[in-house]
């Protein structure tokens, strides 16, 4: 019995290690390519160890294309979106959980429905609308909608707010606190973990978003990293060291974020699925 069990765990181990190799190899290939010369990239058979190690590829990335500008644009759009989305969603979720009013449930179902509506259905009229406002070619179409909240964040925060006992709000009301004061001073500080989860996910979505910047950013000076890299890939298709260096740099903030906030991350993924 014990022998069979240990055989079983060795088998599991072997499969896990083999799988891990499949998942890690592309990363290694990305790092390796980012440090190769333009010539070594096209060696046959492919070589894994860069020789010489071209750290200068990262410098070329900054100087040959406006990488730092793309980075600054991405940071601006992402930070603004996260702030707008989280602030508005925190307020909206309060109205959907801590106050009882007729029509609340119906509107909440509308909010849930927006989560499964294919974005393609609203994409074109939104584009036409922003076009008429003269906003196409600016950051406005990317950040203004964030002021109206994210359905996912509202859902997540509402779950969290609902778990806070009502007695706390009631005693504050008796003490003469307004609803806004209860929200800011009592509910919001308690909801910090949920706010962190929502921020994390919105950060990742905006940082990696491709379709919206593709449609709305027409000026090279406003490009985000996603569009800038795609632009580089279509104009210099053979520049693999630069492309891999850029891809790696674009991924680093998200990977770091994952390592620092692993618990928040996994909690968020599972609340959405298991409790939802």
């Amino acid at each position: 019995m014990t022998r069979r069990r240990s055989l079983w765990s060795v088998a599991i181990y072997v499969v896990l290690v083999a799988g891990a190799v499949f998942f890690l190899t592309p990363f290694v290939w990305m790092i390796s390519t980012s440090l190769k010369t333009d010539a070594q990239v096209f060696a046959i058979p492919p070589e894994w160890v860069p020789a010489p190690v071209m750290w200068s590829n990262y410098w070329r990335l900054m100087t040959e294309i406006p990488f730092l500008r793309y980075l600054a644009n991405t940071v601006f759009v992402t930070v603004t979106s996260v702030a707008f989305y989280v602030a508005s969603s925190a307020v909206v979720a309060y109205g959907f959980s801590r106050i009882r009013w007729p029509g609340r449930e119906v509107l909440f179902y509308c909010l849930l429905a927006t989560m499964v509506l294919p974005p393609q259905v609203t994409l074109i009229p939104q584009f036409v609308m922003f076009q008429k406002l003269g906003w196409v070619g600016t950051f406005l179409p990317l950040i203004v909608p964030a002021l109206t909240g994210s359905a996912f964040a509202v859902f997540l925060l509402r779950q969290f707010y609902s778990a806070i006992p009502n007695d706390i709000s009631d005693s504050a009301r008796i003490d003469g606190a307004s609803e806004w004061q209860i929200f800011v001073r009592i509910v919001l500080p308690l909801a910090k973990p949920a706010l962190a989860t929502a921020s994390l996910f919105i950060f990742i979505w905006t940082w990696t978003d491709f379709l919206n910047p593709l449609i709305y950013l027409t000026d090279d000076r406003l490009y985000t990293l996603a569009i800038g890299l795609q632009q580089l890939a279509s104009t210099r298709a053979a520049a693999w060291p630069l492309l891999m260096a850029g891809s790696l740099l674009m991924s680093v903030p998200i990977i770091l974020l994952f390592f620092f906030a692993q618990k928040t991350f996994i909690a968020g993924v599972s609340t959405a699925a298991v409790k939802g």
């Binding site: 765990s9 181990y13 896990l16 799988g19 891990a20 998942f23 190899t25 592309p26 290939w29 990305m30 390519t33 058979p45 492919p46 508005s88 969603s89 909206v92 109205g95 959907f96 106050i99 009013w101 007729p102 609340r104 509308c110 909010l111 927006t114 509506l117 294919p118 393609q120 259905v121 609203t122 994409l123 074109i124 009229p125 584009f127 036409v128 609308m129 909608p145 002021l147 109206t148 609803e179 940082w207 990696t208 491709f210 379709l211 449609i215 996603a226 890299l229 795609q230 890939a233 492309l243 891999m244 891809s247 998200i254 990977i255 994952f258 390592f259 599972s270 699925a273 298991v274 939802g276």
Partner: protein
């Protein structure tokens, strides 16, 4: 029976409410107003406008011109529409089972007490957070038939590797292979579900002398079925809307073998400026998604819902 304390002209609903209830209604609406405004401006109006556009000839520059159902009848005749529909359904029908199965297997393996469990979980999860643009560029290069390591590896095994993304016969399997790199997201969801399975159920199964397979078939699978349903629905939604990775990896080629629905819709709208036609496509996509989801729910008898206490 009109109470004297109610002022005339108040809407009927409000008339029957106490002061407190009225106050709560306005407060509630005030708190949700940012979303409510966004819902009207960025969802309700665009949905209605999109439906209207779908019956017009519209290129953004000149006003939409009503053409009845012609966009829809043109769609049926458009060979590329059928092709994109086929490509999208192919990727969904093959890709979803592979990704659901693989992520379940990994989650089951990681749910055992193995050494370095945390490290393995990180390794499997990490690719799913790599930005789509970066992952797509990476896989384009990784699968390069001449200079990429995949075909080199196959060559070592004595296999002459295929052209992958460059070969119409292999481009769709290549996309599925690349997408399997990102199964970490559904794996984490499965892991959370597995940790929610009560240990008592496994103990009871052990007492009954259940084999490993029986434990999986009669305890794990039913308890996990709501999570499987969730992953299935998310899989359907994301694969019907697949865009970014394909736009970057193949742009729809070679010979339209990876031209998927959302990509063709994008081309019609933003490259050919056939906004009416693209809107019709969006409504067909909505209809297909709705039919697929209703179909899934109708046949979801296999999903076991624990009685909520």
């Amino acid at each position: 029976m009109r109470g004297s304390r109610h002022r005339a002209g108040r809407p009927n609903v409000l008339r029957h409410m106490t002061r407190r209830q009225r106050r709560d209604l306005w407060l509630g609406l005030a708190f949700v107003s940012p979303w409510l405004i966004g819902f009207v401006v960025f969802t309700v109006y665009p949905v209605l406008a999109s439906l209207y556009f779908s019956f017009t000839d519209y290129n953004v520059v000149s006003a939409p011109r009503w053409i009845g159902t012609r966009n829809y009848t043109d769609l049926i005749r458009d060979p590329l529409f059928g092709k994109t529909l086929y490509n999208t359904l192919y990727l969904a029908a093959i890709g979803i089972p592979f990704s659901l199965g693989l992520s379940l297997v990994i989650a089951m393996l990681l749910n055992n007490k193995v050494r370095l469990q945390g490290l393995f979980r990180t390794v499997y999860f990490l690719p799913s957070v790599v930005p789509a643009v970066a992952a797509a560029l990476l896989w384009r290069w990784f699968l390069n038939p001449d200079y990429g390591p995949v075909n080199e590896f196959l060559w070592q095994l004595g296999i002459n590797g295929p052209g992958w993304l460059a070969d119409p016969a292999w481009s769709k399997p290549a996309l599925i292979l690349a997408s399997l790199w990102g199964v970490g997201g559904s794996m984490v969801i499965y892991l959370a579900g597995l940790q929610n399975v009560p240990v008592a159920l496994y103990e009871a199964a052990d007492l009954d002398g259940a084999s490993r397979w029986q434990r999986f078939r009669f305890v794990t699978l039913p308890m996990l079925s709501p999570v499987i349903l969730f992953n299935l629905i998310m899989g359907i939604i994301t694969s019907f809307q697949a865009f970014t990775n394909i736009y970057i990896m193949t742009g729809g080629g070679p010979s339209n073998s990876t031209l998927v629905y959302a990509l063709y819709l994008y081309q019609n709208a933003f490259q050919f400026f056939r906004m009416g036609y693209a809107s019709a496509m969006a409504w067909v996509l909505l209809a297909i998604t709705a039919v697929a989801l209703v179909g899934v729910f109708r046949t979801s008898g296999w999903v076991y819902y624990e009685a909520r206490s």
